[in-house]
Symmetry: C2
Subunit: 240 residues, 2 copies
């Protein structure tokens, strides 16, 4: 990565790419499950909650539902998952509190250092489907040094809808090719590339746990393919 | 200021409140004026440029014009000011470059320290009419440690239109009274109060130069009235 690439800003997928959502949600869910479903595996619970994520956003992407922020979708999905597992008796306030699990995810070990390095040379921002408050709470807790909070809520649309990528570049006053999306997901990168953005794949082979089958490797010739975010910052000419 | 006030986020007017736009624009304009109008006072030039600011935004506020970001309005206003002064011969690229003066403003001496202190206890963000890229460039250059970039471009409207205040609180997942606008301008605070926000007046008696006549003191009983931003951070119970 060098400034000769013409890249001025790196924007990041967050869930799975910058933070480990599965471990974080499982950790946050454990005390709740101890009260209501002590035999339930907290990672299974996290996986079940996450399985509702894309279908819920698809209602918005398809136009069947106006944009609502991810906190709202997460809350609705959580109720579905509780119903699925037959968990009853939790107070609304307990469900609200558990819904904040997504605000309290830990970064992968390389994320904070790499973001600090990249921030010296580039604009860095999340380009996440997470809403603004979620991203702010996560960043304050984890020390993610974003220059701005961009993404779905600012554009009022969910990735991989093209306007999320295109309007984000426009808001940064940049041509699409001057913006690089960093993601652990080939599908997200493919959508960004169709909008003209540069792309960086970072392998996160345990995002979905020890038996992950998807996104183990780059499926296209992305501009950058790295094993972690420090490797991206290490690219020649980048970050002192 | 204590957490007992219920305030969770402080949002800031920026031009005049956090940064000294007049000195910064004059400093950035001087080399340009040396080439095209060496006898022209750079502060007069800055004042003339700023006089076009509110009328240009009023076109958007009134609905006569769709939202366009402040960089665009600043550029149009600059051309008007050059015409007014009879300045001809500047290349488009020179005008573009001068337009970035607003991205390169220095903070008032108390701003960075106070924001760092307040950030430990509260969400802090600009609530400015400046666009996202302008705010990002300014923050990176000056070390303003914002948690997010909020304001006009995110809402696609200009202060003092009420939705700028109301939608910002909503995006933060907060009730209006949990958000405090900090501004050196009584009119901005009045508009925020009408939307239910808390308000903090900071005196910036030289924003408009040594002969300033407006906003020298608080014109209503704002929740906080301070002489600089460290005084705000000093309020009992606030910022360690």
């Amino acid at each position: 990565m060098t400034n000769q690439t013409g890249i001025k800003a790196f924007v990041f997928d967050v869930f799975g790419t910058v933070v480990d959502w599965r471990s974080g949600v499982a950790r946050e869910a454990r005390p709740f499950l101890n009260r209501y479903a002590p035999a339930l595996d907290a990672f299974d619970f996290a996986d079940a909650w996450r399985r509702e994520y894309s279908p819920a956003m698809e209602e918005v992407r398809s136009g069947r539902r106006p944009y609502v922020r991810l906190d709202v979708l997460h809350r609705e999905n959580l109720v579905k998952v509780l119903t699925h597992y037959g968990i009853v008796g939790a107070a609304e306030s307990e469900i609200d509190e558990l819904n904040l699990a997504w605000h309290r995810l830990d970064p992968w070990p390389d994320s904070v250092e790499a973001l600090r390095r990249m921030k010296r040379e580039f604009i860095i921002a999340p380009l996440s489907n997470g809403n603004i408050r979620l991203m702010v709470d996560m960043a304050k807790r984890a020390g993610l040094p974003w220059d701005a909070i961009l993404g779905a809520e600012v554009v009022r649309a969910y990735k991989p809808s093209p306007q999320v990528y295109s309007e984000t570049a426009d808001m940064l006053g940049l041509a699409p090719a001057e913006v690089c999306l960093v993601a652990a997901h080939n599908g997200d990168l493919a959508a960004a590339r169709r909008c003209g953005l540069a792309t960086a794949f970072v392998a996160r082979p345990t995002e979905h746990g020890p038996h992950q089958q998807t996104d183990l490797k780059a499926e296209q010739a992305w501009e950058f393919v790295v094993g972690d975010l420090n490797e991206l910052a290490d690219e020649p000419g980048c970050c002192r």
